[in-house]
């Protein structure tokens, strides 16, 4: 129990009768990187906002560092670092002042704060922007600065709400490298994301949420194996005979408007059979990814 960084049981959040989070249970241990995946409006932000004591819990149990969030919010917040979904850096202050001022909210002495700011700016490769105003920074730099800010109090739990949304691949990989480094140092990281690659790359365990509920939980690879198998065969404009074959052999598949996806454990043999006999072009075999799991479980229709 005390080993749990986060413990949630039947956690709910209701906005005027609308259940944004509908009875989720999860636990995250120290040193673990835990992911919350889900489409827009799944309830990811609502969940993490309860975890860092921003939003009151409607019902259920929620403990962070073994303490009840409703009673010890201040203590919990002192030991957590939070990167909210929106970049809410202080535009009235410079890059350096942003971190030093944020440190003051944690009662960190000024000398320590300045030292730590310098370290963190170096860690996030923002040293050269020390004196810049926030609006002069690119989106990627702002995001890195938000993450640096979340680390100012040497947190034991780092909470990141979509840390890399809107970043170019370079910035994204840079952020991943930093986060992997922090994880290797034993920092517990809770992150929400839409990027399956990000989750597969960073998370030890993850949950996929939709409509305020948890659909599955597990390690990324296990989830892939349990839900879609090892491979996916994609066929463009499948022929009638192929469709018939798929149905008759009871293969796990998904039929999209112009595409057929077959999920399988035994990709090579099946692929050879299909490509030899039932399909002359537009047929490919690939490894199954977390994205396949995600789309299979949460469906393909748009959310907004």
């Amino acid at each position: 129990m005390s080993e749990d960084l986060i413990f949630a049981k039947d956690l709910c959040k209701t906005y005027n009768g609308f259940k944004a989070v509908d009875g989720i249970s999860l636990r995250m241990s120290r040193g673990e990187c835990f992911g919350i995946l889900g489409p827009n409006g799944a309830g990811k932000t609502t969940t993490v906002r309860m975890i860092y004591g921003f939003s009151p819990v409607s019902s259920g149990t929620l403990k962070v560092f073994g303490m009840d969030i409703q009673k010890h919010a201040r203590l919990i917040k002192a030991k957590s670092g939070v990167c909210q979904q929106e970049n809410n850096l202080d535009p009235d202050l410079t890059v350096f002042q942003n971190l030093v001022t944020f440190a003051s909210y944690f009662d960190i002495p000024r000398v320590t704060a300045r030292q730590r700011t310098t370290e963190l700016l170096r860690f996030m490769q923002l040293e050269h922007k020390k004196k810049a105003k926030i609006l002069e920074l690119s989106g990627g730099m702002q995001r890195r600065l938000v993450i640096a800010r979340a680390l100012i109090n040497k947190p034991e739990l780092l909470i990141l709400d979509e840390p890399t949304t809107g970043l170019d691949p370079q910035s994204r990989h840079q952020v991943w490298a930093r986060l992997a480094e922090l994880r290797a140092q034993g920092l517990g990281i809770l992150l929400t994301t839409h990027y399956m690659e990000e989750a597969a790359h960073l998370c030890d365990r993850l949950v996929i949420m939709d409509h305020g509920r948890i659909l599955v939980e597990g390690a990324p690879l296990d989830l892939i194996h349990q839900n879609v198998g090892a491979n996916v065969i994609e066929i463009e404009s499948p022929s009638e005979s192929l469709l018939k074959f798929v149905k008759e052999s009871n293969l796990d598949h998904e039929k999209l408007s112009h595409r057929l996806l077959i999920y399988t454990r035994d990709g090579e043999t099946l692929f050879r059979k299909i490509s030899d006999d039932l399909c002359d072009r537009g047929c490919s075999l690939r490894m199954a990814t977390l994205e396949d799991v995600f789309l299979k479980l949460t469906g393909r229709e748009l959310r907004d």
Partner: protein, 266 residues
């Protein structure tokens, strides 16, 4: 923070001072623009009213004795300045920080809680009123319109007045759906006070009902206090005005915290 819904009393530690530090850091860069009005405005008003209107009015009766018109309005200018500084700080400036910059959201993820953020913002508004008052008093003193040492007491009074107008401003900030809506409290509350609180003409020239109404307005009491201190003519009944301002500040402060919780803790 979550328990706060059942916790009626504000939960405030000295951490709210961090908000003042943050805001003063910003002010250090923009102070010139911020404090130009309190220095220039009295000069303009005193010239306009002294040289213009003053020629028509010349003297006005205060506590049974005639005083020059500029001596009559100079304290009102100070009181209005106190009102403006705190009111505009805790409406427009606070709203920008809360709504556009999401500064409160960021701070709410630290050990500071919303009650402390709001307290810090209101106290900051009062500090701005106080600084602006000192600057303005320095200018008005050149015109020999303040009686010392009594006038020194205007400085702490400016802080109390700042709390009163800052707290009521914060209530509006918690309520308005968008920034343009501040025009309503300005048009319906601030402007009438500016004109009808015994600022530019004595209250007893108003009809009886308007005089009664004016007693409800916090600026009426602030003007009465500042004027008495500026002229060095203190009276016991002014304690009632002081009490009114204190009660008004406390009530609107609690209300501001309550309304802000309702707006931001969701």
């Amino acid at each position: 923070m979550a328990v706060r819904e059942t916790n009626w009393l504000p939960d405030i530690s000295p951490r709210f001072l961090r908000i003042l530090q943050r805001n003063s850091q910003v002010l250090r860069r923009t102070w010139k623009v911020n404090f130009l009005p309190p220095v220039l405005e009295p000069v303009l008003y005193l010239l306009a009213f002294g040289a213009g209107l003053g020629l028509l009015v010349r003297e006005i009766s205060y506590q049974g004795k005639p005083v020059s018109y500029v001596a009559y309005i100079a304290p009102a200018l100070i009181a209005i300045n106190i009102m403006y500084n705190a009111f505009f700080e805790n409406t427009f400036a606070s709203y920008v920080r809360m709504y556009y910059q999401k500064t409160y959201d960021a701070i709410m993820a630290t050990p500071l809680n919303l009650d402390e953020i709001i307290t810090g913002e209101i106290v900051w508004g009062a500090v701005k009123s106080l600084i602006a008052t000192i600057l303005m008093m320095a200018v008005i003193s050149f015109f020999r319109l303040l009686v010392y040492p009594q006038a020194i007491l205007i400085v702490p009074l400016a802080f109390l007045g700042g709390l009163a107008f800052g707290s009521v401003a914060m209530c509006f900030t918690a309520l308005v759906p968008q920034i343009e809506v501040f025009n309503f409290p300005i048009f319906l509350f601030i402007t009438p006070m500016f004109l009808f609180s015994g600022t530019f003409f004595p209250l007893d020239t108003l009809p009886k009902w308007a005089q009664v109404l004016a007693q409800v307005l916090p600026l009426t009491h602030l003007v009465a206090l500042v004027r008495a201190l500026a002229m060095g003519k203190l009276q016991v009944q002014l304690l009632l005005s002081l009490l009114y301002l204190a009660v008004f500040s406390a009530a609107t402060f609690f209300l501001a915290i309550k309304l802000m919780r309702r707006r931001l803790i969701i």
